[in-house]
């Protein structure tokens, strides 16, 4: 069945292709290019300096969805990147080695700035060190983001980061772009960012409805696209999320379930919360394993990698640099393990989930560390059935369809059996 095209989808497509067009023309237009990562991304600051963002991990996942990642990974491995290295890195490095043509086929310009604003993932550091060797002319800006070890952001942590913004980030950006830092402009973007965040928080709350009108993981990864790839803080993003929210509320009004690649999901049998990124190389197959069983994901940690908005945190234009600092510290993988457990437990409870699934990624330390312990704790705390599967981000060699299917089948049967028992007990 033909996928249903909604207005929001068209808007998103326009935004993304617009960005890649601009990137393709960057040489002519003379715009400077900033490579950066999704967690803790400083979209508003990048816009303030009129930079064009490139997200290597987004390129990697896009390459995987277009079945190009295997070749890129091979290329990186040929150049001595070990089998155990994060496959986003290898895919990205391989893509660059093969001429740096992005997922849409347009050449991606070289970076003028390599901006690292999240240090919770050690691989990110190494990644940009590698890119620095490939692009020696690029300015490297690395901000140290303190981990929320004690389960909170303290004023000292924020000050520590603000100082880095003042002393390192802003001067270097001014130097590369030749544009003077304009705080009013930053505030403008921050206000728009807040607005987009309000909408996205509302969107992910619609899964409280039964049936859930959206899948907060498989469709969720599309929804977080604009907010994560540089459009947060723009009027386009606000318009997109508003349109999306309206479409979703229309589904709620009509009592409709989520849209899948094969059309509307007819019966919602299981509501799940998923921890961990999806597999990108077999994304459709992976999704199908869920929707074929009538399983809808009502919340996922992955859609919070670019920011956790569930607990009320928003960008605040009255404290611009403090706000940027907090944003960096507040991305999902920068929360400590108990915070993540609390957050996921809240999702499970508030969105009435029947089960909890972990997709453990072979080569992702940021997500994998602590996953098993989190699962145990959630299982014990909420007495909810849990499932554990393993795959990889963008290396197709690590997606074993039959193994995942076998585990998921067992997991769904667990849920089914439990429902039967609970039913007989309450009768």
């Amino acid at each position: 069945m033909e996928a249903q095209k909604e207005r929001s989808m068209i808007l998103q497509k326009e935004m993304v292709s617009g960005l890649f067009n601009e990137l393709g023309r960057a040489k002519e237009t003379g715009r400077k290019v900033c490579y950066t990562f999704v967690p803790g991304n400083l979209s508003e600051l990048i816009r303030t300096f009129d930079l064009l963002p490139v997200y290597p991990e987004i390129n990697a996942l896009q390459s995987a969805m277009r079945k190009k990642s295997a070749g890129y990974i091979k290329e990186a491995e040929k150049n001595a990147h070990s089998e155990d290295v994060c496959t986003y890195v290898k895919c990205d490095v391989g893509m660059m080695m093969k001429g740096n043509f992005g997922p849409t086929g347009e050449k991606i310009p070289e970076p003028d700035i390599l901006l690292l604003s999240y240090t919770g993932c050690f691989t990110f550091l190494k990644w940009f060190e590698t890119l620095k060797r490939l692009y020696p002319n690029a300015e490297v800006i690395m901000i140290h983001t303190p981990y929320q070890e004690a389960g909170k952001m303290t004023p000292e942590m924020t000050q520590y980061m603000v100082r880095q913004f003042r002393e390192e980030v802003i001067p270097k950006m001014e130097k590369v772009t030749g544009i003077k830092y304009d705080e009013e402009k930053l505030k403008y973007h921050l206000n728009l960012a807040k607005e987009a965040q309000d909408w996205i928080a509302k969107i992910f709350e619609t899964t409280k409805h039964k049936p859930s009108p959206i899948d907060a993981y498989f469709a969720g990864v599309y929804y977080i696209g604009p907010i994560n790839i540089g459009f947060r803080g723009t009027p386009e993003a606000v318009e997109y999320y508003k349109a999306l929210y309206e479409e979703i509320m229309e589904r709620v009004r009509l009592g409709l379930g989520p849209i899948t690649p094969e059309g509307e999901m007819k019966e919602e049998k299981y509501r799940l919360v998923v921890e961990g990124p999806p597999n990108w190389t077999s994304f459709r197959e992976f999704w199908k394993l869920f929707y074929d069983m009538g399983a809808v994901i009502v919340a996922s940690s992955y859609t919070k990698v670019g920011g956790v908005y569930d607990l009320g945190w928003r960008h605040d234009s009255t404290r611009p640099l403090e706000s940027l600092s907090e944003y960096c510290m507040n991305c999902y993988t920068n929360l400590n393990i108990p915070q993540r457990i609390d957050l996921l437990s809240k999702c499970i409870t508030e969105y009435s989930a029947d089960g909890y699934v972990t997709n453990s990624i072979k080569s992702c330390n940021s997500f994998s560390a602590g996953q098993l312990g989190m699962m145990r704790e959630i299982e014990d705390r909420l007495e909810i059935p849990v499932g554990f599967i393993e795959s990889d981000l963008v290396d197709p060699r690590y997606f074993s369809y039959s193994n995942i299917k076998n585990r998921l089948e067992s997991f769904f049967q667990m849920l089914e059996q439990r429902k039967k028992i609970v039913k007989t007990e309450t009768v």
Partner: protein
């Protein structure tokens, strides 16, 4: 009419079938080796379970006699193994025909000599096997057709001289698979009657031997009793077995599980995950079980269950066969010994050699190195067994550890050395916990399947 429920567990190594009654009691078990044709494997296991069920029904009818009179008990034991022999014999006849046919098609110039040699080998092993069934209780040893024949055949081929070795082995390899994948129809009543005849000969023979003054160790109470009284037992059985043979074992519902479940010709709602089935079966037998370890051929599973026997979480090995039954099969091949010999030999070790490899194939290289260095075979085997259990322990830890009673299921639970290390390591890691290992451990998945089959039907019936 009584209703029965069937569970079939189509594993990678063995296929199991269990039939239960409406009280979840096992009345029939069947097991065979899994082969290329899954349907045949499942059918054979099911047929065996149905025969077994008939024997159970028969035993129930003559229960009082069996409890009071040793000759009844002994006779029933004997007739079961002879009954197995009768089935074996039918299939053996087909195999013999196939072997001759295969050899006849050979291009070897000494073809006729090969065929003569083949026939003489068959003439040696045929009575050998019969004797082992009738007098040695081979039928109760859970050996499969292929294993029984190949063990004896290979032994004879080895004696036959170099020029015959290759063609004779080739003939066997080419013949055994099609014969194994063929469904043979048996008639319960006929087989019983034939078995009775064989037993009559056996018991008569026993009497003669005693008169000869031979000092066989059959001279104990049961056998003595049956020797003198088998006619009575026969008479009593003749009265009942026809009824049992004719009785319809009405399978009201069935559930298929195991690695090959998707290939079973069952409707979708009758296919269940082996994880759920193993847990449900283990929990039914040991209701306080909270952690189940199942080591099967293809995979190892650590499962946590709740008080209903429902799975709350599980962990399975992934990407490597090290740590499951296949690993043992591979090791047995490396050493050129049978799977059944592994455990006992490992138990005779004086120490455990450290095997650090987590990969089946690499373990082979390690083993070769150890042999080269003069390490004793039992010690290497002990190390390998320990390595498997270490892998299983890691899965148990990942699944949440041992919470309460621990039950060990799956085919590998029959291996004494694995059992020893499981007991040792579970105690080391989790202290003194109740550990359950059942003689039927290999049937737990099929039992769970049968129990699900019974429940699903009940659920669908109007109250």
């Amino acid at each position: 009419m009584n209703k029965y429920y069937l569970g079939i567990d189509l594993g990678s190594t063995t296929s199991k079938a269990v039939i239960i009654d409406e009280n979840d009691q096992i009345i029939g078990r069947g097991i065979t080796n899994t082969r290329a044709n899954y349907k045949v494997a499942a059918d054979i296991a099911r047929e065996e379970a149905i025969y077994d069920a008939r024997f159970t029904l028969l035993s129930n009818i003559i229960k009082t006699d069996m409890e009071a009179k040793p000759e009844f008990k002994k006779y029933m034991e004997d007739i079961r193994t002879v009954f197995q022999y009768q089935q074996f014999k039918r299939r053996m006849e087909i195999l013999e025909e196939k072997l001759v046919k295969t050899s006849e098609a050979f291009p070897y110039p000494n073809k006729n000599e090969i065929i003569d040699r083949l026939k003489s080998i068959l003439n040696v092993i045929r009575p050998q096997i019969r004797h082992e069934f009738v007098h040695g209780g081979l039928g109760s040893k859970n050996q499969f057709f292929r294993d029984i024949v190949s063990e004896r055949y290979n032994l004879e081929v080895a004696k036959a001289g170099k020029e015959f070795y290759e063609p004779l082995m080739l003939a066997f390899d080419k013949s055994i698979t099609p014969v194994e994948n063929e469904m043979v129809q048996y008639n319960f009543k006929e087989l019983i009657l034939e078995s009775m005849k064989v037993l009559e000969e056996k018991y008569k023979g026993l009497a003669d031997e005693q008169e000869d003054g031979s000092k066989e160790d059959w001279y104990y109470a049961e056998l003595n009793a049956v020797r003198n009284n088998y006619k009575n037992v026969e008479l009593s059985l003749r009265e009942h077995f026809e009824l049992v043979a004719e009785q319809e074992i009405h399978i009201a519902n069935m559930v298929g599980t195991g690695y090959g479940r998707a290939l079973l010709p069952f409707p979708e709602e009758c296919i269940k995950s082996e994880i759920l089935c193993h847990a449900f079966g283990a929990h039914a037998v040991f209701p306080n079980t909270r952690t189940v370890l199942d080591i099967g051929g293809q995979d190892t599973k650590a499962i946590q269950v709740d008080s209903h026997g429902l799975v709350t979480s599980f962990h399975m090995n992934d990407r490597c066969a090290a740590g499951c039954g296949r690993y043992l099969g591979y090791i047995a091949d490396e050493f050129g010994i049978s799977l059944n010999e592994l455990g006992p030999e490992a138990m005779s070790a004086t120490k455990e050699t450290t095997i650090c490899s987590t990969c089946t194939v690499f373990a082979g290289a390690e083993v070769k190195e150890l042999i080269h260095n003069g390490e004793e075979r039992p010690n290497i085997l002990a190390g390998l067994h320990k390595a498997i259990v270490q892998r299983a322990m890691s899965l148990i830890a990942r699944s949440g550890g041992v919470k309460n009673e621990f039950t060990f299921t799956g085919g590998v639970a029959r291996n004494q050395a694995v059992l020893k290390y499981v007991k040792q390591m579970v105690t080391e890691s989790y202290g003194e916990v109740t550990m359950n290992i059942h003689t039927d451990s290999i049937f737990m998945g099929a039992l769970g399947g049968a129990m699900f089959a019974r429940r699903n039907v009940t659920a669908a019936l109007p109250a």
